[in-house]
Subunit: 196 residues, 2 copies
């Protein structure tokens, strides 16, 4: 079916998130139809990203420079650190332009089922950053899942005694959300977080 | 958000079939997390495919050699040509191992809405192959759509007078298909195609 090159391309494409054998074949055909304008640019972008993108040694963000553009931005509040589970969460907050401080990527959440323990998370680098001084507040922005809540609770205890304010992101009704489609947990959280 | 390399990777990934900005970001993160085992192999497979894969000058198939492996296979019936719309259809027939002859990729179907006329299809190469002699039968294996049926009808007329048998793929109830979920057109075709 077109030689080993096509077979290999389809096999690797089928491992992309959300892709299977069928969609991988479709993607391979689309790309092979325009090798110069589609296939080669994507291959070169991947090669270049693999060569340049590194994990920021300060916060765990992905960037082509280390420390990353966020850590070295003098316009950001260096005393405010937002702790997120992964780089995808950091990207989401950056797209929303709602956080003007720094980040710390934890690299996961505590999960007994997933086998993620305290040693698998990037906690020590966060503590070192706080111990180095200059940090006023740490915002724990983990997901409202069982694992996220567990990790938030555990991390808040670890950060106690460091002399920094530890806050958590608010929970409740999401913007544009109708109450009758929300789950019981969200409704309970929204009622608990009511303001006067 | 991670520098121009990541932005470019996401932008190009989001143009993959079935992908949008959100899934492209997810794929970029997955790939960037394993640059050596995921990102670079995919980049190299793409680069290699772009460099080696060509359109077969005889049948229009995609292969790393020209003429393609199917056209040069001495074990296949050289007198039987199956006409398909695209390389994806050829792949589907090859996966099913149901055709032991050669192929001809038409490169599309006649479509007034899509602006595809007779000159946009690879008809002349097919006629040349038939004129060169040795062809016994041409199977028209186009989709059972309005465009497919139009093209089948038009192509059958063009092939009349060349002294070859022109056949069409059968229409009816697909394997494993229950009658009560089929559309009226398929049911009508299945009744018309009944056998005793």
């Amino acid at each position: 079916m077109g030689g080993p090159e096509i077979e290999r391309l389809i096999a690797l494409l089928s491992r992309l998130p959300g892709y299977g054998p069928r969609s991988a074949r479709r993607a391979a055909l689309t790309l092979l139809r325009q090798p110069q304008s589609r296939l080669l640019p994507l291959a070169s972008a991947m090669e270049q990203a693999a060569r340049t993108v590194r994990t920021c040694s300060l916060c765990g963000n992905l960037d082509s420079r280390d420390p990353c553009a966020i850590c070295t931005d003098p316009g950001r509040d260096q005393a405010l650190i937002c702790v997120v589970e992964g780089v995808g969460d950091l990207w989401a907050l950056e797209r929303a332009s709602v956080h003007r401080g720094l980040y710390h990527v934890l690299g996961g959440t505590l999960s007994a089922l997933g086998g993620t323990g305290p040693d698998d998370l990037s906690t020590q680098p966060l503590l070192s950053r706080i111990e180095a001084g200059g940090v006023r507040e740490v915002i724990l922005a983990l997901g409202a899942t069982v694992e996220g809540a567990t990790t938030t609770h555990w991390l808040a205890e670890r950060l106690a005694g460091f002399g920094v304010t530890v806050s958590r992101v608010g929970q409740g009704v999401p913007m544009g959300g109708a109450l009758d489609v929300l789950d019981d947990g969200t409704l309970a959280a929204a009622l608990m977080a009511r303001r006067v």
